[in-house]
């Protein structure tokens, strides 16, 4: 099957990218750049999770950053109020965001295209406003202090890398399975998929729940890494970054969001030093990629490979 071969190739490319990332700490000892790479991996998980929903299932949610924020608050609030260790609170955050994702997925089932984007955007904004206004619970815009986990950056680096690799492997097997075919069938033609016996309601909800849980996990890890949770984690701008990374890397491919996240975040850190033009550059790139290169950087790379033949 062509699709399976394509996915396998993307999977290998993603593993190569992660293997390169695993070697980086041998050469980079600067704590600042290691931190930048950790944040890139935080975004890579979000982009991968959003890609499962938008790229593979065709459900264009605009709430990935809000789910990361909720995951971060879930682990932070539970840990601070009960004193439970992160080993307990992070799985709780995954379950909580997964459950919220399940509920949101049920709510937006009948919506598509612009309606879906609007509803998820409103949901994200409501959640951010609630987090920022519930000052006696979340301390509002001051931010919620959260306990740390590791003393040094290397530990965080490999924890994030391991999580990213694990999620990537899980995603690969999901896509290889019948479930992956169902999701892509829903993306390509929902009516035809339903007529062919795909339980559209069930699989769309599953995709929402899985994607939200992955975002929640990433946000929960980030909370313990940054040791502070603020409502800023859930802004539309953050979702914009996630969308940019996926679109630039290649939507609907395994490797695209991962490579896109590293590229976009590293370049954005570099541009920040040059004068803060990062978001101008990325928004231009997003428009250009959406307009001319639908399959992103990965599509350009594979296109070049195919050209000589």
């Amino acid at each position: 099957m062509g699709g399976d071969r394509r996915t396998a190739l993307e999977f290998r490319a993603a593993l190569v990218a992660l293997a390169i990332a695993a070697l980086v700490p041998a050469f980079v000892e600067n704590a600042y750049w290691l931190g930048v790479l950790v944040v890139s991996m935080y975004f890579a998980i979000l982009a991968g999770a959003w890609n499962l929903l938008a790229g593979y299932t065709g459900q264009f949610s605009l709430a990935p950053a809000a789910f990361a924020m909720m995951g971060a608050y879930a682990t932070g609030l539970l840990g601070n109020n009960t004193g439970l260790p992160p080993l307990v609170t992070i799985p709780f955050a995954i379950l909580a965001t997964g459950a919220i994702g399940l509920a949101l997925g049920r709510v937006v089932l009948r919506l598509s295209g612009p309606y879906l984007a609007l509803t998820t955007l409103s949901f994200a904004e409501i959640m951010r406003l609630v987090a920022s206004n519930s000052i006696n619970v979340t301390r509002g815009d001051l931010g919620l202090p959260v306990t740390g986990l590791f003393q040094n950056r290397i530990g965080w680096y490999y924890l994030f890398l391991g999580t990213l690799a694990l999620l990537l492997v899980l995603l690969y097997f999901l896509l290889r399975s019948r479930a992956g075919l169902f999701l892509q069938a829903i993306r390509d033609d929902e009516v035809a998929a339903a007529r062919s016996g795909v339980d559209v309601v069930f699989w769309k909800t599953v995709a929402f729940a899985l994607s939200s849980a992955a975002c929640g996990l990433s946000g929960a890890l980030y909370a313990h890494f940054a040791e502070l949770v603020t409502p800023d984690l859930g802004t539309v701008g953050q979702t914009g970054l996630v969308v940019s990374m996926t679109v630039i890397g290649g939507m609907g491919t395994l490797v695209g969001p991962v490579v896109g996240a590293f590229l976009v975040y590293l370049v954005s850190e570099w541009l920040r030093d040059v004068g803060g033009y990062q978001l101008i550059v990325f928004s231009l790139l997003v428009i250009a990629f959406a307009r001319f290169f639908r399959s992103g950087l990965w599509g350009i790379v594979t296109g070049l490979r195919r050209q000589p033949a």
Binding site: T119, S283, V286, A290
Partner: protein, 299 residues
């Protein structure tokens, strides 16, 4: 006492609603003609506020000359958006094939980020306060006190909304736009230039959003991200009023303005911005065609 307060809240809510209507009509027209949501609509508003404020302050021209310049600039930005980014949706040269909704979301979302950050970098992140149209600070109309600028701005808004509604209803171009919104293929077979109609709709909605921004600029203190909330409000309104329906948008705008105005006093001030959003989710669940929308069926 509560009677006077209620009147005051109602009037202020209705005035706020007028500015929501300026935003929502444009968004609704765009949805009607291209079936896409413009996620950069708040940035048209922001551009209008900046154009008015900067032309008036930097060039030192009187406010009533800067105002039409801001309108024209908004119309130009709208037209340019259509020409460069929206045309692929129907001219058949997008690489996205059938995923036109997704293309539109990504492109307008990107445009929104671009405009916000472009203004942030070129003009600066500081807030600018726009000049008022007239310098009368308090006018008493019966029991209500209102600033001269607000009264004049509300009057202008009513005038422009009325003119737009009349234009859409009776003019040659308005009829062409409505024809394209009803059936693009049929309209083009009847000899209507659909591309021109789409361009016109974008220019008109850029104009309207810029009008709202410019008229409100003495109140809102223009900053690069000032468009986010009005935009989200107008998404809510357009869904409530029924996407593509101009009268629906106007009524829903006024309703939201009044609901927020009362809700902020009698409900919760901190959560005033969430009322509309909660209403939106409820509507999408139980009445997705909106108050006045017709339930469409695609074949």
């Amino acid at each position: 006492m509560t009677g006077a307060l209620a009147v005051d809240l109602a009037v202020n809510g209705l005035i706020t609603g007028l500015f929501y209507a300026l935003m929502a009509i444009g968004l609704s027209l765009i949805f009607g003609i291209l079936r896409v949501v413009n996620f950069a609509h708040g940035e048209f508003y922001m551009v209008g506020a900046y154009a008015y404020t900067l032309i008036a302050l930097a060039l030192g021209v009187p406010a009533f000359i800067a105002l039409p310049c801001a309108f024209l600039f908004g119309a130009f930005v709208g037209w340019l958006t259509e020409r460069t980014l929206m045309r692929p949706l129907y001219a058949g040269y997008t690489s996205w094939g059938l995923m036109r909704d997704e293309y539109a979301v990504i492109v307008t979302f990107g445009l929104s980020l671009l405009l916000v950050n472009l203004v942030d970098k070129t003009i600066g992140p500081y807030a600018y306060r726009g000049p008022t149209l007239i310098d009368v600070s308090r006018i008493a109309i019966g029991p209500i006190l209102i600033s001269g600028h607000k009264l004049l701005a509300a009057g202008l808004a009513i005038l422009i909304i009325g003119a737009t509604a009349a234009l859409m209803r009776w003019s040659f171009w308005g009829r062409q736009i409505r024809a394209v919104a009803q059936n693009r293929l049929g309209a083009s077979l009847a000899g209507i230039d659909t591309a021109k109609a789409s361009g016109l709709v974008f220019a008109l909605s850029g104009w309207l959003a810029a009008t709202a921004g410019a008229l409100l600029s003495p109140v809102i203190n223009a900053s690069p991200d000032v468009g986010a909330f009005p935009a989200i409000k107008s998404y809510v309104i357009v869904v409530l009023g029924g996407m593509g329906s101009v009268p629906g948008s106007i009524i829903a705008s006024l309703a939201i303005g009044v609901i927020e105005s009362f809700g902020a006093v009698y409900g919760s001030y901190d959560y005033r911005d969430t009322f509309g959003l909660v209403l939106l989710i409820l509507f999408l669940l139980f009445r997705p065609q909106g108050l006045f929308g017709e339930r469409g069926r695609e074949v």
